[in-house]
Amino acid sequence: MSKTEQDLLSNIALDEIFAAGRAETPAPSEALLARILADAQGVQEAGLAAARPRAAPRPSPWARFAEALGGWTSLAGLVTATLAGVWLGFVSPDQLNTLSGGLLLPETGGTAIYALEDILPGDDGLAAFYEEGGQ
């Protein structure tokens, strides 16, 4: 069915109908607003909870190793001591022998100048221990 211009509502009348529509716009109810705010809070709390593990990630194996030794300062001390040991082994042991008063190394090759009992406390006690059969 074709429309003639007379069938059409005038622009003025249409504007009035739009105005009536704007005046009758439904507003959200209190209950709807409460539901929307509850959703907002739920999403917000879920987001914050999900963000927490990201804030404290699981430490790497290397970091956990360092922590087990007592932290990075202890690790630095350990490295220093290790390097010092390597260095002492590398430089001439004669100097160490001098410092130890000749106790560490024999002056002539092949013969130890000390026995096990020499460096254990109370050689008598140890002998007695052997004699009693370890009781």
Binding site: L9, I17, T25, L32, I36
Partner: protein, 195 residues
């Protein structure tokens, strides 16, 4: 309806959304007070005046806004434009599911307040408008509702529909002509008597 907690009226929607994403609860209240009535009005127009369905759509659209808040890219789109687009899509989905259900199935407005003849006429015209809008193709309906009931600009409507401003003008013009035709058949009922 007025809400007492819309105290941040000078802050932009986008700033409020970012604040909400950062854990600010007051921002959610301000955004709800500001945006929920617009979404509700738009959804109701798109859904032929069905208040119950419009409330469901409003809650869903706002829920999507809350969820996107942490990932919102500032400066890319207006919050209202994004929200109108989401609402229009939600309404379209519902209208397609509703296919085959006539306008008679849409409940009468609950508010049947008695009053002056003018108030009754206004209500009747608004209802006739809802019915006429419901008969428009969806994109024409979006364009006409946003332009003439929501008072949005053509560039914003173009952004919502993802078309050019010229295409919006064409849609609006065709929509208005279709409304004039369908409402013209009810001119006496709507108080426009021929001289």
């Amino acid at each position: 309806m007025k809400m007492a907690f819309d105290a941040q009226s000078e802050v932009s929607d986008e700033a409020l959304l970012v604040a909400y994403g950062n854990g600010d609860r007051a921002a959610a209240m301000a955004l709800t007070a500001r945006l929920a009535p617009r979404v509700m009005g738009f959804a109701a127009r798109m859904l032929g005046g069905d208040r119950h369905e419009a409330e469901d759509v409003t809650q869903e659209a706002m829920l999507r806004l809350w969820r996107i808040a942490p990932d919102w890219r500032q400066g890319e789109a207006k919050v209202t434009t994004w929200l109108y687009r989401v609402t229009a899509n939600l309404c379209t989905d519902r209208l397609r599911r509703r296919r085959g259900v006539g306008l008679d199935a849409i409940p009468e407005p609950e508010d049947g307040r008695p009053g002056a003849a003018e108030a009754m006429m206004q209500e009747m015209r608004a209802r006739a408008l809802d019915e006429a809008l419901a008969a428009l193709p969806e994109r024409q309906r979006v364009a006409v509702v946003m332009r003439h009931l929501e008072g949005r600009s053509n560039p914003e409507i173009a952004a919502v529909l993802e078309i050019s401003v010229e295409a919006v003008e064409s849609l609006t013009a065709r929509g208005k002509r279709a409304l004039s035709a369908s409402l013209g058949q009810r001119r006496e009922e709507l108080g426009y008597v021929e001289d």
